[in-house]
């Protein structure tokens, strides 16, 4: 029976070899092979995502404008944008007649997407020109934290004859800049104070040459003259202060190494009177809640100013690209 046993053993060996070879044929388990971590973080959003966000902002704004209810905007609005729109609603509700709200188009023409893995994140959008042929808007959408949504933080109107600097396409993304970023003519943190000084002192400011003329400064000057006249008529005092929110500066680099810097700015205008009653305009009265003040009235303007800061060693002038300046609060007695 040795032969039989040998045969059995041989058969077993053949089976074993067969099984082994079959198992060797089995496909090895695939292992994850992700793309390498890029040296530069990818853009935070795709163009489609930006468009989706803008659409949602637009619909939210539409809903808020319809209801004139600022709470409707909370989901997609924040910062100066929310404050300005809220003031508009207040005025509109008080006046009980339609007052044109500031047009905020949400269809993008140019999108500047930051490349970062950190928060907060800011997306810059140049909108299409509104139908009423107003100037296009520069929108700034920010995401403060990973679980936050992108919210419209500010909009500003492009000033006439301003050229938006070239930026990288969204697929590439643009590098966000810190407020103390180097390599610029001035840092983003400084530009607000400098411009405020120019607004305050006019051509006497040491930075006047840095900015040149712009429509915002011109308009602010016109308004100030009016108030000064009123204050003069009322026998009171007139003061106006410009306070850039330096800590909230948002900046992104441009293709030429410069930066677009958006600085929130609050303007406070105070009028005093010598016991004479001061009658306010309808809108101001709506914000104040009464039509006249007898001692003083303080007007608060909210808005943002967008600067284009050239890179160091480039042109020696900062451009005011866009701005918004809206009276958002009135106090007085």
């Amino acid at each position: 029976m040795t032969g039989t046993r040998t045969t059995v053993l041989r058969g077993a060996a053949v089976l074993a070899v067969g099984a082994l070879s079959l198992s060797a044929c089995a496909t090895p388990l695939p292992t994850p092979s992700p793309d390498p971590i890029p040296a530069v973080p990818p853009p935070t959003l795709t163009t489609d995502q930006v468009r989706a966000v803008l659409d949602d902002v637009g619909s939210t704004l539409e809903a808020g404008d319809e209801a004139l209810e600022v709470d409707e905007l909370a989901d997609r609005f924040t910062g100066p944008a929310l404050k300005i729109r809220g003031a508009e609603y207040t005025v509109n509700l008080a006046l009980e007649d339609d007052v044109d709200l500031i047009t905020v188009p949400t269809s993008e023409r140019t999108v500047v997407v930051p490349t970062t893995d950190a928060w907060p994140r800011s997306v810059f959008v140049i909108t299409e020109q509104p139908e009423d042929l107003q100037s296009p808007r520069l929108l700034v959408l920010t995401q403060d934290a990973p679980r936050e949504r992108y919210k419209l933080w500010a909009w500003s109107r492009l000033l006439p004859d301003r050229q938006v600097p070239r930026t990288f396409v969204p697929e590439v993304g643009s590098v966000p800049l810190a407020s103390d970023a180097e390599g610029l003519l001035v840092t983003p943190a400084e530009v607000g104070e400098m411009y405020a000084d120019v607004l305050d002192k006019g051509d006497d400011s040491e930075h006047a040459d840095l900015f040149g003329e712009d429509v915002l400064r011109e308009r602010i000057g016109l308004v100030r003259e009016q108030y000064e006249r009123i204050a003069e008529q009322a026998g009171g005092e007139f003061t106006e202060r410009y306070r850039p929110a330096t800590e909230d500066v948002v900046a992104v680099s441009t293709a030429d190494g410069g930066a677009i810097v958006v600085v929130p700015m609050t303007t406070t205008t105070k009028l005093t009177t010598d016991e004479r009653e001061l009658s306010l305009g309808r809108a101001e009265a709506a914000l104040l809640g009464k039509r006249t003040v007898t001692e003083s009235a303080t007007f608060t303007w909210s808005g943002v100013v967008a600067f284009v800061i050239p890179p160091a060693g480039g042109p020696e002038q900062i451009t005011v690209l866009a701005a918004e300046h809206v009276r958002t609060a009135v106090t007085g007695t």
Binding site: V140, Y150, D248, V249
Partner: protein, 563 residues
């Protein structure tokens, strides 16, 4: 038998191979997708995949997430950094890859703090204090947002490329794009359960074994069928060619056991071989080589009665002048001598027990063809004749046709009379029993030519040689001749001791005239005396003329080889 068995095995193997091949492409066809699951471990309500997991198997993946009890479940795909930042310090389960082909590998995820660009003062809602936000603040904010026991809702985040939500289950499809992407699965609600993630990738199914397996299987089946047919034909051919020899049942029933081992399998000739054989006979040349076989599977040989003219009578101890007889006497040393002896007229007497003793003619290839004498003196086709090769070979080489003539002349005349083997003539007897299938394996029934080795061509036209075992040759035969075949033969003989023919020779009588003479069965008369062991075997061999002539052999072989 062995052929057919082999054929059957081949067919079986072929069927198995073909079946396996087909099954591999159908029954066992690998799924056209890979589906792997993962369950959020512990009490985490969030699953996160590492980059690369989504495109683990294919670029397109279907993500299906389920949650127990219809809990709201959200799935989303976003950048790795975004997903990790979103999850933050929440407990979550990280999917790292495949544990096996149906299970995703998971491990508890590490808490990740949302990175904050510290130098940049983020724009803050006016309601919040200004200033740079510290990472801790961010974490706190995140934590505060989550009410205790309520998982945050990833749905609605602007960061996701693809997202979906559903109650109990939801599904998305994701196609890989450049970058590092992670999947986020989260259940929401106060009693959020553990979500289950199921990733399904399409997979191109290949059946590499189908075609080769099918071909091999078919080839095996065909080969097996061919072998079976071959075996069948041989058996048929044998049945047709060889006349059964029947022992005289009336006489010594017990001893009627055929000399040859009863269970010797036989490899029959194919028809083609038979045809060729005939042709060869006609031309005096040997046909194709054939494995000498004697079909022994059937009942003991029976004598075809009709052919036997007279009442068969066992020829007892009647010395049959076999070819051997011729060899020894006429021309022991001469090649042609055997020719004279080949014809051993068979007495009509019945030959019992006689195993088939076909005449085998070694051919050039070394095969052995049952020989049918072609010469004038050739016996009837059906007469199995054993030829004394050694004797006949030399002659055939020279003149195949003529060779038979000289010798046969004397012998053939006495068809009815057994030829008396004059002497054991060891020199002539070169017969050795042969196995049915191979020359080497020698069942007792078949005589094997010593020259059957491949190296020795054999003349085709030797005169029919009657094989007449020598009455008393046993002692001289050397069992070693046949090698293992011989040993087997001996064993068989032992087992069939009683059956072993004893000294008395039987006459195998080829018919002198092929055309006219009816086939005569070689018969072997039973020997009364029982011999044991080698003695009986030797006796058997002697009886069949298997007497070797050591001296004569070499020459014969060489001659044949040259030819």
């Amino acid at each position: 038998m062995r052929l057919r068995l082999t054929g059957a095995v081949l067919v079986l193997l072929g069927l198995v191979a073909a079946g396996t091949a087909v099954a591999s492409a159908t029954l066992w066809r690998p799924a056209d997708h890979v589906r792997a699951e993962a369950l959020a471990s512990g009490a985490t309500a969030t699953l996160v995949t590492q980059p690369g997991v989504l495109e683990l198997v294919a670029d397109t993946v279907t993500v299906r997430a389920t949650a127990p009890q219809g809990t709201r479940v959200v799935v989303a795909v976003g950048r790795e950094a975004d997903v990790r930042a979103w999850v933050g310090s929440d407990p979550h389960t990280l999917v790292t890859g495949l544990a096996d082909i149906a299970t995703l590998d998971t491990r508890p995820g590490d808490a990740v703090e949302a990175p904050v660009a510290s130098p940049t003062p983020p724009p803050q809602p006016t309601s919040t204090p200004g200033g740079p936000v510290e990472p801790d603040d961010a974490a706190e904010d995140t934590a505060v947002e989550d009410a205790p026991g309520q998982e945050a809702d990833p749905a609605g985040s602007d960061m996701w490329i693809v997202q979906a939500e559903g109650l109990g289950a939801t599904e998305i499809s994701w196609t890989h794009r450049p970058g590092r992407w992670s999947l986020l699965v989260a259940t929401t609600g106060t009693d959020a359960g553990q979500p289950t993630l199921e990733l399904t990738w399409p997979r191109e199914v290949v059946t590499p074994w189908f075609r080769p397996g099918l071909w091999i299987g078919c080839a095996l089946v065909l080969a097996g069928a061919a072998v079976i047919v071959l075996g069948w034909r041989r058996s048929r051919a044998d049945a047709a060619e060889w006349v059964d020899v029947e022992t005289d049942a009336g006489v010594e029933a017990e001893e009627v056991v055929p000399v040859a081992a009863p269970e010797v399998p036989a490899a029959p000739l194919t028809r083609r071989q038979l045809r060729e054989l005939e042709a060869a006979r006609g031309s005096g040349r040997a046909a194709r080589p054939v494995v000498p076989t004697v079909r022994r599977s059937g009942p003991p040989p029976t004598v075809a009665e009709p052919e036997r003219p007279g009442a068969p009578e066992p020829v007892e101890a009647a010395p049959v002048a076999g070819p051997a007889g011729a060899a020894p006497a006429p021309a022991p040393a001469h090649a042609s001598a055997p020719a004279a002896a080949p014809y051993v007229p068979t007495p009509p007497a019945p030959v019992e027990d006689a195993p088939y003793v076909p005449a085998f003619v070694p051919t050039r290839r070394g095969g052995v063809v049952p020989h049918i004498p072609s010469g004038p003196a050739a016996p009837a086709r059906q007469v199995p004749t054993a030829q004394s090769v050694p004797a006949s070979r030399p002659a055939p080489t020279a003149q195949p046709a003529s060779a038979p003539q000289p010798a046969p002349s004397p012998q053939p005349p006495q068809p009815t009379q057994p030829v008396q083997p004059s002497q054991p003539a060891p020199s002539v007897a070169r017969w050795t029993p042969t196995g049915p299938t191979a020359p080497a394996a020698a069942p007792a029934a078949t005589p094997v030519w010593p020259t059957m080795t491949p190296a020795t061509p054999v003349s085709s036209g030797p005169p029919p040689a009657a094989l007449a075992p020598e009455p008393d040759l046993p002692a001289e035969q050397s069992p070693d001749r046949g090698g293992s075949a011989m040993r087997r033969l001996l064993r068989r003989k032992d087992s069939a001791t009683e059956a072993a023919p004893v000294g008395p020779p039987e006459e195998v009588t080829p018919e002198p005239e092929p055309p006219t003479a009816p086939p005569v069965e070689p018969g072997v008369a039973r020997a009364e005396t029982a011999h044991t062991g080698t003695a009986s075997a030797d006796a058997w061999r002697a009886r069949w003329g298997f007497v070797e002539t050591p001296s004569a052999q070499p020459d014969v072989d060489q001659d044949g080889g040259e030819r």
